[in-house]
Symmetry: C2
Subunit: 332 residues, 2 copies
């Protein structure tokens, strides 16, 4: 089914207000979920909402908590997320990094003790809406085996790189695993295989079978040893700078909470050559998009273009929602 | 053959001095090459030296040029590499970022108009030797097809993440392609296949055959669409912030030169909790290393451990050099 964007926001907002969230915060949180779905990131949009509410109901997310500034260390600001809603915390940290970037070309803000930020790309989009490059990442609970290992001891630690470009910015939003658990679930529901190897089955064979991978919990890092190495370094860097929990430390908790995040914004307006930048970005993007496609009648798109098309469609026809998920959310 | 480290440095230094490089600069450049070989990164150590000298001889590398400060934009310093030796330029930019980090917790330095930095990990090692996290990347000439494309229009844009840890820091040093051309060459020489798919053959089939991939020039991005997206964003970010050439712009030149680079250093000493950091890093690293290995009798190592072992061996037994390469360098 397709649900008008405004209707989706209203329903989600109503559910959050019913959990004691302040009206304006509930509105923003609801929009961040609806934006994810509208952009086609269903796994971290509407589909994730029941889990978010369940974490509120269990007391892992404190609906009334906001980040507080703990210290300024040179140009870096360390904030405590106070176990508030992960998407509101991340939004506010990105906003703060953007403000710092407007004063100082670059702003760096960390969050410790925060919750899952849901759809990471939202905060990259906030950066580009303000004329900033965004570079941000989070750590996660242990959910991926290191390269060569069977048991999950590193996080998939999603990362976003965002570059402003007209109404269709470059948005790279990816986890260090080849496929997220949400994506595997989706493939399983659709009865499809992963397009490439996504992990190991419980006998230790590489497989494209999403069910076998979800069962073994042995997802493959993107680029094998490369994604594994990146995930390890991203976790150490973000937990050290933020003073927050490492992936290992998060694994000691009853669920994925109290994660560590970093938000960097770089304001392009601060640079003397900022007026040439749009032209330069455009040249690179058209050069890439005019590559010779591998498949006959194929076409190449830079990261962010597909999302933009989906967003336009969602605004015209309504946001896609699976009937069962929509009913589940209504019943919350 | 194995060559004592000091002997390797002497020979390389002598060759650089013979090209008009100042003695102390030649010594440092020679060391950076020997360090790469000593750490087992042969593709960007001794093996790459003849190409470096050839770029000097052709005038693409100006042996006497050093970086000059072009502007300070907030906390970011933009330097011009003046087409000097890429490894010396990168070393000096990293040093400057470290100095800034000592004053201000974090330092960000960009280089435009510089040359290939050879072995990227060297500058990450310089950061950790000074108690800093290092985050750095470069762009490159178009040498990899974007995901879905046949022709190379993006760079493999190598990146380093480095975290200090006792005498064995965490060093992640990787290109956005699954295998570098140097690595493919090496597999070919050894008559081996790539351990995983490394690119497409000229008929468009995924293959592990290093010769077929080198011929088609269709290397695979690490993690397929993921590495492709990352490479695109890394190029845009580094070229915008540095005011330097994009991958597309580098492609307009007769060879890979005038590249753009960024160096970030974060000084751990600046943080109030810096005394706990070593312990916290160690906990994560031992947790990962004690994973259950996938292979019987296998073992898991964090990124940087293998390199450290190779370095110790090189210092004890001499640095590995292929006879033919050693002879070639002697004849330069």
């Amino acid at each position: 089914m397709r649900v008008p964007y405004g209707e989706m926001v209203s329903l989600l907002k109503e559910k959050l207000v019913s959990r004691g969230m302040d009206e304006s915060r509930a509105e923003l949180s609801a929009r961040l979920f609806a934006d994810a779905s509208a952009d086609g990131v269903h796994t971290h949009g509407l589909n994730r909402f029941p889990k978010y509410v369940s974490l509120i109901d269990q007391g892992f997310i404190d609906v009334s908590a906001s980040p507080t500034l703990e210290s300024r260390i040179g140009m870096i600001e360390r904030w405590n997320g106070n176990r508030g809603p992960g998407n509101l915390n991340a939004y506010s940290a990105m906003k703060r990094a953007i403000d710092l970037a407007k004063d100082n070309a670059m702003g760096v803000v960390t969050l410790r003790n925060t919750n899952h930020w849901m759809r990471a790309g939202n905060y990259g989009l906030e950066a580009v809406r303000n004329g900033c490059i965004g570079i941000l990442w989070t750590n996660a609970m242990p959910n991926m085996p290191a390269w060569g290992a069977r048991d999950a001891r590193i996080g998939n630690n999603p990362m976003v790189l965002a570059v402003p470009y007209r109404d269709t910015p470059v948005i790279v939003d990816l986890a260090m695993s080849m496929f997220s658990y949400g994506k595997l679930e989706r493939y399983a529901l659709e009865g499809r295989e992963c397009p490439v190897d996504g992990g190991f089955d419980s006998s230790g064979n590489l497989t494209r079978d999403p069910v076998a991978i979800s069962e073994s919990r042995q997802v493959l890092p993107m680029g094998y040893w490369k994604g594994s190495s990146l995930a390890i370094a991203l976790d150490l860097i973000v937990s050290l700078i933020s003073g927050g929990r490492t992936t290992k430390d998060i694994g000691d908790l009853p669920c994925e909470t109290e994660v560590s995040q970093i938000f960097m914004a770089i304001s392009l307006d601060a640079f003397p050559d900022h007026e040439d930048m749009e032209k330069r970005i455009g040249e690179t993007l058209s050069y890439i998009d005019s590559s010779i496609p591998r498949e006959e009648n194929g076409s190449i798109h830079y990261p962010g273009e597909g999302m933009k098309r989906t967003r336009c469609e969602s605004m015209r026809l309504g946001v896609f929602a699976e009937d069962s998920v929509w009913e589940k959310v209504k019943a919350l």
